[in-house]
Assembly symmetry: C2
Amino acid sequence: MNLVDRILNGETRAISRAMTLIENGDSQSREILRGVFPHTGRSRVIGITGAPGSGKSTLVDKLAQAYRQQRKSVGIVAVDPTSPYSGGALLADRIRMSALYNDEGVFIRSMATRGHLGGLSRTTYDLVNILDASGKEVILVETVGVGQDEIEIVRVADVTIVILVPGMGDDMQALKAGIMEIGDIFAINKSDRPQAEKLEQELEAVLSLATRPDGWKPCVARTIATQGEGISNLLQQIESFELFRKGSPQWAEQRRRSVEESLINLLKESLLEIAIQKNGVWDRIQAASHAVRDRKIDPYSAVEEILRNLK
Amino acid sequence: MNLVDRILNGETRAISRAMTLIENGDSQSREILRGVFPHTGRSRVIGITGAPGSGKSTLVDKLAQAYRQQRKSVGIVAVDPTSPYSGGALLADRIRMSALYNDEGVFIRSMATRGHLGGLSRTTYDLVNILDASGKEVILVETVGVGQDEIEIVRVADVTIVILVPGMGDDMQALKAGIMEIGDIFAINKSDRPQAEKLEQELEAVLSLATRPDGWKPCVARTIATQGEGISNLLQQIESFELFRKGSPQWAEQRRRSVEESLINLLKESLLEIAIQKNGVWDRIQAASHAVRDRKIDPYSAVEEILRNLK
């Protein structure tokens, strides 16, 4: 049986193998993604994002356990800011720590954030599609931070949970601003901390001012992930958003726009590939990189020269 | 006098104007950047990065003040994760809070993280070049978080300071891993907290294992930014790295590679622009975005079809 069929069959080894090929940018990966694509679109994809120290992984663990209790199969893609220095060790630690380690109904993948040709968000999208095609009913995508790349990652999600923690300091306001747009649900984790009340009030105030194009009013859920508190409430809110989203034409348009952006990115990558295959182009880029570094020519003129030579 | 000359003259209004044009992706901005480019390369660019709540802005403030005491002119580019919802207000707050507000030797610019054509790191690079050409001797670039985009931003810096804070939680290890590569100097801020000792030991342990291609051994500085403690030590470490870097051939090569990457990005953008100007291409992308969203075709095949039509 070929790899695509084995993925559709839900075989763990096949899923892992395909993910490795995708992460390595292997030439086979496009064929695989093409093969699985018609079988995608059935999973519920939940994005979970929050700063380091917000208890993200614990919350993901508890959510996964809750879905397992509902007998749903679960896939987890964790986008970790690991570097070549320590990636392997962290991955192993992470998996060992999880209560889900020995559960065959759960597939966990940690993804390094560096070295993805075509960007982190595309690789995430591809891995989610593999899990989707493999029949996972729920897919949890966990990302760190508030960078633009993280914001793009959550575009693959049907619903996005943003985790905030009381007492994270004065940059909190800025953080909230940056993630306002991407959060469908806000979880105040570690909500037994004294400043939880204050954070909730501030957050409600910010949320009451914002108007989303789709009309959804983001809700706030208090959690203490380490104790499993607030998880069932969170599940209900996810359910509510699902109901809303399925009836929302704006949501469908939003999704289309996000697909449009990834198509444009893919197109850019392909155009570059085609250009670089032409004789001498790579050498010209190399030469230009020296000249620009030494400030003999500005980057815009350098690229224009390369383009003139392309024609 | 034209805008470029006024920038080279160090006129604040001209700098602001140019930055707005760049941030808006105005067609004049390339011409301006071309004009200023031959006059760049004289500033010392210092990148400062750290998670929300790490006291980044305060540290930037104190560093700026210290350089002002040395009678150096200072430019600050703060890359804030603000959204259209609250960007303006946050910017105003930020500037009002700063002790540097009334100092004419300091130019402060807050930059939104969204909506930059060609990416956040390119816009940052462009703004830094404007400040550089305007004669600012020191440029501080402040970014939040550990995303890939943030990592790219620090590539514009001659030296990068990563801020860590004791007791930020168990995701700290992952955070450290992701930023290991980009930190030339690590500042342990809020170092009067009890876990400072532990963090320093952990950090030294991680740093002792890592080998950087350029041979630099990243150093650790304790700071309490709110009280101005450790700032002069930090300045010395910046000085040490400057001395090291200027004699390092690997550093020059590293810089070339980072220029190469930005040239490639620029080339991709230009290739896309050229493609989209052709008849019907934009319509085809639109149609494909519907088809892919509705899973009638996979993104890879959709883009290949567009490419076939281009030829």
